[in-house]
């Protein structure tokens, strides 16, 4: 208990607002998105068939700029569920994922004055971001037709280090001011993950806990994942008749694919989704009185 209290105190100290009231708050932008589309799953541990069906995800992103304005803390989390059927609609499968990523991105942009944080006249509408991230993926693939078997599902537990990059284009035309296009991509490079053995049963893995070959180093030779997202963010206020609204809407598309070839088991999952989201600023507690300057909702990216 004492250890827990000390740990909690340390966390409070670390996370407490450090800026004085007169200092500038670091821009923070959050994006909450709903993604709907089509997913495809195949896992040879279960069956050699491809299952295709509806895909549904909720995603949150957080972009928080460092004080030197060259770095951005990037966090992304999503929860996904997909229900598919095989080619002949004879059998079904469910797929679920829960993913979290934390990255630090180097930012190339001249839209902010590094000394005053003032938004200045831009010579370029572009911003580029690139950096490493650490993430964890949890998930499952479940074959409905094999519910009572010794191999009804596979679990996905993978920790990864990868690269994340983004390009942002900000429209300069006054009539669409605030509108921007964003392209993001991230992919794991190395990591470690759980994978059942080729023919190991649930009975062995979970009941007997036999010493199987379950933990694996992953890299591009046995795991190829890629997430790309192209989005358009536009303030509702640019639409005639909605001038009084200050919300920013996100529309776009995303493509995700993950493959894994370990223990002679091949698994594939891919999705193509339509994205609709809400872009908003978040002010950490204790910073509400901070001078936020006159800036658009996007300073963090």
């Amino acid at each position: 208990m004492k250890r827990f209290l000390i740990l909690a105190l340390l966390l409070l100290i670390v996370t407490a607002p450090s800026e004085a009231q007169n200092e500038l708050a670091r821009p923070v932008t959050n994006i909450l998105s709903l993604r709907i589309g089509q997913g495809k799953m195949r896992d040879s541990y279960l069956a050699p068939l491809l299952y295709t069906g509806a895909n549904f995800s909720i995603e949150g992103q957080r972009w928080r700029m460092h004080r030197d304005l060259n770095w951005v803390n990037w966090q992304q989390a999503d929860i996904m569920f997909s229900s598919g059927e095989d080619h002949g609609n004879n059998s079904g499968a469910w797929t679920g994922r829960l993913r979290y990523r934390y990255g630090i991105l180097w930012r190339w942009s001249d839209s902010l004055d590094p000394t005053t944080l003032e938004v200045r006249t831009e010579s370029s509408p572009w911003s580029f971001y690139l950096g490493p991230y650490a993430g964890i993926d949890l998930g499952f693939d479940y074959n409905l037709k094999m519910a009572s078997s010794n191999n009804p599902a596979t679990a996905r537990v993978v920790g990864n280090l990868g690269a994340v990059g983004a390009v942002r284009y900000k429209f300069q035309n006054p009539s669409v001011r605030g509108m921007r296009v964003m392209f993001q991509a991230y992919a794991p490079l190395i990591g470690a993950g759980f994978r059942p053995e080729y023919g190991a049963s649930y009975y062995e893995t979970f009941y007997l806990s036999t010493s199987g070959n379950y933990a694996h180093f992953t890299s591009l030779h046995n795991q190829q994942d890629l997430d790309v997202q192209l989005t358009l963010d536009f303030p509702l206020a640019i639409i005639p008749g909605l001038r009084s609204f200050d919300s920013v809407l996100r529309l776009g598309g995303s493509y995700h694919i993950e493959t894994m070839d370990i223990n002679n088991i091949t698994s594939r999952y891919s999705s193509v989704e339509f994205v609709i989201g809400w872009v908003y600023q978040y002010l950490p507690f204790g910073r509400r009185k901070v001078n936020l300057l006159k800036r658009s909702p996007y300073e963090a990216y």
């Binding site: 495809k40 195949r42 279960l46 069956a47 050699p48 068939l49 491809l50 095989d86 080619h87 002949g88 004879n90 059998s91 006249t121 370029s124 509408p125 572009w126 074959n143 037709k145 094999m146 078997s149 010794n150 191999n151 009804p152 390009v167 284009y169 429209f171 300069q172 035309n173 006054p174 296009v181 392209f183 991509a185 053995e197 080729y198 023919g199 190991a200 049963s201 009975y203 062995e204 009941y207 007997l208 036999t210 010493s211 199987g212 070959n213 190829q224 890629l226 790309v228 997202q229 192209l230 598309g253 493509y255 694919i257 493959t259 223990n263 002679n264 091949t266 594939r268 891919s270």
Partner: protein
């Protein structure tokens, strides 16, 4: 102040906008072509399903060598039929059913909407050795106690406990077992009747067997496939029975246990017999420090086998396939896939019809005689009850 020429600015950056729009398209196309696997859409034709069935077993089935099956030869025999002879799903089913027969394995099935392909010769060609009505009418009666799938009571004539457990699919609760064993503890021996028990969940077999163990006991090994080759197996992993701590256990060193078996004892029931056989002869130390060997015997007919843990898969047409994937052996490394013989001197066959007419279950009677001869429990006679 010089006005910003927005038009010029936009035009000057058009190349970038095009780039940002082309980037995801390129990424998507690249990823799709390199990583996606749409061709995994298996061929759903009659031939395609035959191929999928053959391949699934070729890559996952675990007893090709033990059964001496030439699986390539099976392919060569049936594949040509799909050129012109096999025209309906019923004919496809018939081919798969014949292929199942070549493997002589009760764990292989093809589940279709209209039938189940199966191999049942492992019990169909043998005596039944069990008559339900005989047991209930003349031995167990109608007043038996019943919990966790176990029907139990004591024969008043000689105070021998009798437990009928007909399926390992019936979950066994630890506290249920406590009650059953505690209520029967003053019996002179235990007859555990698993005849016609076609298996179920292996953990139930382990849970039940642990009540007869007094120390950690090796009872077998398990392996699994590590690749698609017929010889790609993991190293044998030892399997142990652990005594059920703080639970009621049955002292088989003073009160013998006889398990009644027939050819219908398959899969988990076969594994249970293997577990109990491993306990036979292991020592029990009583409160005075005296060691006695446990007496746990099998009586009746050879079990049906089925020691491979089954896996499942699905064919492109949705038919479900089940097959043995993880072979298990006994503690000496011997396979029990083809069954386990009864203990020496306790092989008993019984004609069910004449047994019913004579009101006598020969297998139960043989077990009774063995218990009465070997029990160390105080003998109770009919008069003393």
């Amino acid at each position: 102040m010089k006005p910003i020429d927005m038009k010029h600015r936009l035009e000057s950056h058009h190349w970038g906008l095009y780039l940002i729009l082309l980037l995801p398209l390129s990424f998507g196309l690249l990823a799709t072509s390199c990583l996606d696997d749409d061709e995994a859409e298996k061929d759903d034709s009659l031939r395609g399903n035959f191929e999928a069935f053959w391949q699934t077993l070729d890559e996952h089935y675990c007893y090709f060598d033990e059964k001496g099956v030439d699986w390539d030869g099976v392919y060569d025999k049936y594949a040509p039929l799909f050129k012109d002879s096999i025209l309906t799903q019923f004919q496809l089913f018939q081919v798969l059913d014949e292929m199942v027969d070549t493997l002589r394995d009760g764990h292989i099935n093809v589940y279709t909407p209209f039938n189940i392909a199966r191999y049942w010769s492992w019990w169909e060609d043998y005596p039944d050795n069990y008559e339900d009505n005989l047991v209930y009418e003349y031995y167990l009666g109608t007043n038996y106690w019943y919990t966790s799938g176990m029907q139990y009571g004591k024969f008043t004539r000689d105070s021998i406990a009798y437990v009928r457990y007909s399926s390992f699919s019936s979950s066994i609760g630890e506290s249920n077992l406590d009650y059953v064993l505690a209520l029967l503890h003053n019996a002179s021996g235990l007859i555990l009747d698993i005849r016609d028990n076609g298996g179920g969940t292996l953990t139930n077999a382990v849970t039940l067997a642990e009540r007869f163990a007094t120390e950690k006991t090796l009872y077998g090994y398990i392996r699994h496939k590590t690749g698609k080759g017929h010889h790609d197996f993991s190293d044998p992993e030892p399997l142990y029975l652990e005594p059920a701590s703080d639970r009621v256990f049955w002292d088989a060193s003073t009160r013998p246990v006889v398990i009644l078996t027939n050819r219908h004892c398959f899969s988990s029931a076969n594994n249970f017999v293997q577990l109990m056989r491993a306990l036979d002869g292991t020592m029990t130390t009583d409160s005075l420090g005296i060691q006695r060997p446990k007496l746990i015997k099998m009586c009746g007919d050879r079990t049906g086998g089925g020691s491979g843990l089954p896996f499942e898969s699905v064919l492109p047409n949705g038919w479900r396939v089940r097959f043995s994937a993880c072979p298990m052996t006994d503690q000496n490394g011997a396979s029990t896939e083809s069954g386990i013989d009864p203990s020496p001197g306790l092989k008993v066959d019984m004609d069910s019809i004449s047994a019913f007419e004579n009101h006598r279950d020969d297998i139960i009677e043989a077990a009774r005689a063995f218990i009465l001869k070997n029990t160390l429990a105080p003998r109770k006679t009919e008069e003393s009850e």
